[in-house]
Symmetry: C2
C-alpha cells in the first residue's frame, strides 16, 4: 500500500479525552475514530490489525475443534425470558422495541440463542462434543464507557459455547479451550496468565480469566513468576488426547495466580518473596463452565448411550478482539508510539523513500516494494513528499516492525538502512540482500 493513497489520519496533538496510552496511541495513529460514547469507527490501519487478531483467534478455535457460525446482533426477548435473564439482566442490556412493539435486545452475549440452535438440531450424544463460536458485535450499555476500545459499549467478541453429555466431557471441552487460549495469546506476543475466576453460584473450579500483565492494567493481580516462562503448547497439540490436555491444564494451574477478587492472602503470604509478581493486569479472555444453567430451563438435552435424556453440560469462552487491540498496545509501546508484535502488525514493513520524486530512489523503492510483496510481506510504502523527520515519526508512531530507509546517499553506495522498531537497532545492508536479511531476522512464520 502506498502511503500517498492510504487513509491514515495521524493526529499531531495528544487527544485530550484519552486517559490511557492505548486509547491515545490508537487515536494518534489514525487507527480509530471515537464515534460517540463507547463506540468507535475502525479506520484502515486499525481494521487491518483487528483482522489479523481475528484471524489468529479463528485459526486456534478451528484447530481445537470449534466451528464458526454467526448469530445476529438483535435477539428476541422471548429467548431471554426462557432462561430468566431478561428480567435479571440490568440496565447494561440495550432493550429495543420494534415497529410492532415487540421486545427485542442487542445481544450482550449469546448463551440463549446458541442453546436454541443446539436444541433445534442436536438430539443424540453421538453428535457430541460440539463447540460453536462466532465473532460478532455485542452491546453493553456501560454506565461509564471509557478508555477507547478497552471499555466500550459496542465491542467485538469471540464467544464460543461447548455442549457435552456430562461433566467429564465438558471438562475436556474446557481444557481444549484453555489450551487454545494459551496458544492464541502467545501467537500475538502476549504473556497471558490464566487466573482462577469466580464461578459464583455455579461453583467448581472451572473458570479462568486470562490476564496480561501491564503497568496500566485495570486490576491488581497476583501470580507466581514461573508462569511467565511456562512453555506454550505447540502447533502439533493433539486436541483429541484427553489426558494430555488435562495434564497441560493442571500444569498451567499448579502455581498461584489470582485476580484481586479471588486473592487469598494466606496462600500468597506462604510463597517466597522472590517468586511473587504483584502487578496490574488486563483481562483478555475468560472461560467458564456453567453446566446446565441454560440447558435445563431451555430443554437442551440429548439421548445418551443409556437411552435416557440428559441436559447437556455447557461452557462459554470469550475473547474481545477489539479490546485485545488496546491490551496489545498497553503491553507494546514506547514514548514514540506503538511497537506491534510481528504476528498482528498492520503492515510488516515501512518502506521509507527519503527523496520521493528522485528517479533513482523511486526506482529502488518500487523494486523493494515488489520484492517484499512477492515474499508475502505487507509493505506500507511512504512515497509522500513529507520531510524526513515526519516520515520517521509516523513510522515509529504506527509501530511497524521493520523500517527500510532509502535515501540518495545509500542508493549511490548500493546500501539501505534498516531499523528494527522494537529494539531500535539499525544496520546497513546491501540493496540486493535487504529482503533476505529482513526476512531472516523476522520472527513471522
Amino acid at each position: 500500500m502506498r502511503l500517498s493513497r492510504f487513509f491514515l489520519p495521524i493526529l499531531k496533538e495528544n487527544p485530550r479525552e484519552a486517559e490511557i496510552v492505548s486509547h491515545r496511541l490508537m487515536l494518534r495513529a489514525g487507527m480509530i475514530r471515537q464515534q460517540g460514547q463507547g463506540s468507535v469507527s475502525w479506520l484502515p490501519l486499525g481494521k487491518r490489525v483487528l483482522d489479523k487478531v481475528c484471524a489468529i483467534i479463528r485459526e486456534e478455535q478451528d484447530r481445537s475443534g470449534a466451528q464458526e457460525i454467526l448469530m445476529p446482533t438483535i435477539q428476541s426477548a422471548d429467548l431471554w425470558r426462557e432462561s430468566g435473564r431478561y428480567d435479571a439482566y440490568g440496565k447494561e442490556m440495550l432493550r429495543i422495541k420494534d415497529r410492532n412493539d415487540r421486545d427485542m435486545l442487542f445481544g450482550p452475549t449469546n448463551e440463549e440463542m446458541v442453546t436454541d440452535i443446539f436444541r433445534a438440531y442436536v438430539k443424540s450424544y453421538k453428535d457430541l462434543p460440539l463447540n460453536l463460536y462466532h465473532i460478532q458485535w455485542k452491546y453493553r450499555d456501560e454506565i461509564r464507557p471509557r478508555f477507547g476500545v478497552m471499555r466500550s459499549r459496542e465491542f467485538l467478541m469471540k464467544d464460543a459455547y461447548s455442549f457435552d453429555i456430562d461433566y467429564d466431557a465438558a471438562r475436556s471441552a474446557y481444557n481444549r479451550m484453555f489450551i487454545a487460549y494459551l496458544r492464541t495469546f502467545a501467537r500475538m506476543g502476549l504473556k497471558a496468565v490464566p487466573m482462577r475466576a469466580d464461578t459464583g453460584p455455579i461453583g467448581g473450579d472451572l473458570s479462568h480469566e486470562f490476564i496480561v500483565l501491564a503497568e496500566t492494567g485495570e486490576s491488581q493481580v497476583f501470580c507466581h513468576k514461573d508462569y511467565l516462562e511456562f512453555a506454550i503448547p505447540g502447533e502439533d497439540t493433539d486436541f483429541s488426547d484427553i489426558e494430555a490436555m488435562e495434564k497441560t491444564v493442571r500444569h498451567w494451574t499448579s502455581l498461584y495466580a489470582a485476580t484481586d477478587e479471588m486473592h487469598d492472602e494466606t496462600a500468597w503470604n506462604a510463597l517466597p518473596d522472590d517468586v511473587k509478581i504483584d502487578a496490574r493486569g488486563i483481562e483478555v479472555g475468560h472461560i467458564f463452565h456453567f453446566g446446565e444453567k441454560y440447558s435445563a430451563p431451555m430443554g437442551a438435552s440429548v439421548t445418551g448411550p443409556d437411552g435416557k435424556e440428559h441436559n447437556v453440560s455447557m461452557g462459554s469462552y470469550g475473547i474481545g478482539p477489539s479490546r485485545l487491540l488496546g491490551a496489545l498496545i498497553e503491553a507494546n509501546h514506547d514514548e514514540n508510539g506503538i511497537i506491534w508484535p510481528e504476528s498482528v502488525a498492520p503492515f510488516d514493513i515501512a518502506l521509507i523513500n527519503m527523496k520521493a520524486g528522485d528517479a533513482e530512489c523511486d526506482a529502488v523503492c518500487e523494486k523493494l516494494y515488489a520484492a517484499f510483496t512477492e515474499k508475502k510481506r505487507d509493505v506500507l510504502y511512504d512515497d509522500t513528499d513529507q520531510r524526513a523527520g515526519g516520515k520517521f515519526a509516523t513510522a515509529d508512531l504506527i509501530g511497524l516492525p521493520w523500517q527500510v530507509i532509502i535515501g540518495p546517499r545509500g542508493v549511490a553506495s548500493g546500501e539501505v538502512e534498516v531499523k528494527h522498531r522494537r529494539s531500535g537497532e539499525r544496520f546497513n545492508v546491501s540493496l540486493d540482500r535487504v529482503v533476505d536479511e529482513v526476512l531472516a531476522r523476522s520472527n513471522k512464520a
Copy 2:
C-alpha cells in the same frame, strides 16, 4: 473437514415457512437457522459461503482503490439530525434509547457517519479521491420480512462512499465502482446487468442497479440480450485510466436495460423482438451518485486548487452479501439442491467414502483428502456410516462442485468415480490421476 465432526443439520422435510427456493434450500442444507422474524443465524456451511462472497467483494473493492474501514452498528441520532434524515426516515429505522434516554439508532445505512469521519480529517483536495467502504450489519425494520436472507431485517451490507472535489471526479469514482461491481458479480458466476435506476430529486443519470436474471426474481426487468454476452473488464483493468473507465461504462450502458420502475415502453417497443429479454430479476447491487446531499448540510468540504472551500461530491455503492447468497441459489439450483459456482462454494470437493470403516476405503480417502488439501482445495470428507443414498442426496443438496466417490469396487480396480455437480457428468479416473484431473477440469483459479 470431516463430515462426522461438521455441524451440518440437514433437514429432510421442506420447511413450511419457506416460500422461495433459496430460502428452502438454505434451511434444508443447514446453512442458516431462521432466528425470529427477518433474522437468521449462519450455520457453518452458510458462514463459509458468506466468507467467500465477502472475500471476492473485498478484493474487487480494494483493487478499484477503495479502502476498508468498519463503522459501528449503533449510531447517535444527532448525526442523522444534521442531515435531516432522523425525522424523514420512517418506521424502517430501528430507534433506540440508551440508559440515559439518549436517542440512538441501529444504522440502516452510513452516509451520515462516513461523512462525519471525512470532515473530521480531510481538508484538502490533495487527499482526494477517497473511497471508504465497510462490511457491516444493518437493520431495517421491514413491515413484512420474508424470503429468508432475501428480505430480512438484519442483513449484511457492503457500503462504499466516494468523496471527490467535483462532479467530473465523482463521475470517475462512480465508473470505478461500476467496473468493480461488474467484476465482483462475474467472479461469483452471476450475470448481472446494470440497469438505470431512479435518481429521485437528485437527478442525473448516475444511478444503476445491478440485476441478476432469475425466474424467481422479485421484479420485472427489461433488457437487451447482448448484455449477457458483454465481456467483463479483466483483472488487469487500470483503474487510474479515467478515459478507459468512461468508455467501458458507456459500452455497458449503451443498450436498453431497465427495471419496471424506469421502464420506457416507447424505447422498448422500438427494439426488434429477438433482442428483447423480458424477465424477472433480483437486485444484487446499487450504485448512486448524490453529489452534495450530505456534504452540504454536514459541512464536509475541502480546500480546492483555487484556494476556496468546496463541498465534496459524493456517491454510495451497496452490495448485500447476505442477500447475495439467496440470489446465488436462485440462479444456481436444480430439483436436487444447490449448485455452487466454484468461486463461492463452501467446499470444493465432496469426498464420499462409500464404506467408511473399511480399511482400504478409509486409507484411499485419507490419501485423497491430504492430496486435495495440499493443492489448496477445501474438502468435505463424508466419513459417516450413512447409507449411500443418503450420502449422495446430501452431496447434491449442499451443491459442492465435485463429488469424488470411493467404494470397495473402485479401490480394488484402482479407480474412483467423479461427478460434476453442475453438468451431472460422471467419469472414472485412476486413483493416482484423480487429483490432477479434478483440478484440470475445475475453473477455480
